[in-house]
């Protein structure tokens, strides 16, 4: 699925870039070192998709003589075909059954692991940064300064009704 998408994107980009004198496969051949073969999108293609049960072409193009004789037998009454033959016929025409198409992968575990790993790396970088890169904190962060700041705020009666100073008990001189 991903390989097909990459091929599709690659050929779209190729078509848009050239003046359409060469086909994308010719350009690929002239480069000589492209990664995947260009899929010819002008011919009927096969997909396994839930919403397209019958793709444009059969899955297996090349039939062995055994397959061909089975295809001949298919032209007769189907009651004569055994279950294995029916399965063989199915696999000739289709790659995956619906349950196989619908099966979930464990990709999410890789994704979550990757995300956590990257977050971890970032965390390490930040720890190193706070130790070695950041300048010393301003003096307003000292505990003594902060205490004086709180005292000043209480003296000013900052938010006396519902906020800061409302929580300070002025008679007893402590937090409520």
């Amino acid at each position: 699925m991903l390989r097909l998408t990459a091929g599709r994107v690659g050929s779209l980009v190729a078509r848009r870039a050239t003046v359409a004198l060469t086909t994308s496969s010719a350009r690929m051949a002239s480069h000589g070192h492209e990664v995947s073969e260009a899929v010819d999108m002008s011919k009927p293609m096969y997909w396994d998709r839930r919403e397209i049960p019958l793709p444009d072409k059969r899955y297996k193009d090349i039939l062995t003589p055994a397959d061909k004789s089975l295809k001949e037998k298919e032209k007769g009454p189907w009651g004569q075909l055994s279950n294995e033959e029916k399965l063989t016929l199915y696999r000739l025409s289709f790659c995956q059954t619906y349950p196989e198409m619908k099966q979930s992968s464990s990709e999410w575990k890789t994704v979550v692991a990757g995300v956590l790993y990257c977050l971890g790396l970032t965390g390490l970088v930040i720890i190193w940064q706070t130790a070695y890169v950041s300048p010393p904190a301003p003096r307003t962060f000292d505990a003594e300064w902060q205490a004086k700041q709180v005292k000043r705020m209480l003296d000013m009666r900052v938010s006396p009704i519902e906020g800061f100073a409302a929580k300070w008990d002025y008679e007893k001189g402590q937090w409520k």
């Binding site: 919403e51 049960p53 189907w78 075909l81 279950n83 029916k86 199915y90 025409s93 619906y98 349950p99």
Partner: protein
């Protein structure tokens, strides 16, 4: 057939019956089984629709000799 599966519905037994007979005319057993699988998939979480459909289609299935995916063991892997 792809268009039919594209609609937001599970096809009626009559429609699936015609599709299966078309497969018979084209000598394409694999497509017949695929259609049955697709119709089961269309029912989604409503698991009672597919058995009903098979029940309705049973005369046609026996007449044409089509096995259901369950009979071929294709619903498990």
């Amino acid at each position: 057939m792809n268009t039919l599966i594209g609609y937001d519905l599970v096809p009626e037994a009559k429609t699936v019956d015609s599709a299966l007979r078309a497969c018979r005319r084209l000598n394409d057993m694999a497509s017949a089984i695929r259609i049955l699988e697709a119709v089961k998939d269309k029912a989604g979480p409503h698991k009672e629709i597919y058995p009903y459909l098979i029940q309705e289609l049973q005369p046609t299935l026996s007449e044409l000799g089509i096995s259901t995916p369950e009979q071929l063991g294709m619903d498990k892997f």
